[in-house]
Symmetry: C2
Subunit: 228 residues, 2 copies
Amino acid sequence: MAASKDNLPVNFGALLFPTFQALDIFGPLDALNILSRKFPLNLSVIGPSLDPISTKYRNPSLNPFNSNFGETVVPTHSVNSPPESLEVLIVPGGFGTRDDDIGPIIDFIRNNYPSLKYIITVCTGSWLAARAGILDGKRATSNKMSWAGTKEVGPNVKWVSHARWVVDGNIWTASGVAAGIDAMLAFIKEVYGEEAATHCSHVMEYEPHKDASYDPFAELHNLPRENC
Amino acid sequence: MAASKDNLPVNFGALLFPTFQALDIFGPLDALNILSRKFPLNLSVIGPSLDPISTKYRNPSLNPFNSNFGETVVPTHSVNSPPESLEVLIVPGGFGTRDDDIGPIIDFIRNNYPSLKYIITVCTGSWLAARAGILDGKRATSNKMSWAGTKEVGPNVKWVSHARWVVDGNIWTASGVAAGIDAMLAFIKEVYGEEAATHCSHVMEYEPHKDASYDPFAELHNLPRENC
């Protein structure tokens, strides 16, 4: 296990649940996979239980062609037996955020946020943070395709409609899916330095959006400007 | 299990091995996760065995800070007991492509390519296809950071140095990591239609590169133009 010498965050957690959106978490995590060769980093994958967690659509209405398509990830910890010393928690979105059994995931965010250095949500992961109450009074963003739902789920959140990502204090919220890669590279730049972020993006052969206010998808969905 | 009515590919496989690069496969697969709600698609995750497969660096020289960072995926099939009727095989890259125990993965590509409709490699996944012999005499590309190794591993391949992705017959090869997302969206456009590809990219909040010859990373690494 790696240990930090200079107070940089070392211990990351990925909080997963059934029917999470794969790229929401694997985009950011792959940047960190690369970073873990430059800085000491540990990852815990935290699920509702220790059972493997699939991206598959459980709700038949989401799967009209009866596809059998999904990826299954093995957690290292459960919400009931979490890792010690978690510093950065990453929360993806996906259709599973709307499921009836999401409660323990929301509780985990609520209970663990006070001791975190940072929390990073991607896509409708911000719905879970909102339902945990940690976004109340804060600026945040979310997926642009489901914006109406976003406003319902967090009535006390200062939702920013036109943003690739938003930072408020130690809370980073990214827009939909691939925006998580941009947010994570911006986070790496902020915390570990520009050289580290550039290295990750070069290895990934990815040209990140570096302007947090860039948001062609807010335009695509004709969202009104509600930048708090 | 989904079945096709109109001869479009239904049965996809992801061929994984220890120390695969996560985004190489999860970028393309997440586009397909979304597509699986519009078309009948099935996914098999194929590993060296049925043991869970981790992205972790096994070689200590790749992990100088002793990070404990990686994601672990559960295969549905092994190379020794593969799925029937595989139509599209996706092969990621990663440091594991260079490991001594990669032989059975290369053998799987060699033995199964003749019955596939398509094979899609991402990053150094093309090294495995080259070693399987299926790229001999074909145009192909690969990761740009490791280009010298690419030429060594496939001396009879017509490597294209400046390309986000290359198509030769039924073989699609993408450049490094995130280029796999662009290649997969181009593949979806080619096979399932432009509306399907646009839908996937909109859900992903991703603006794909649509010009296969766009390659800022070939420029970054000062690669000579060797476009066959």
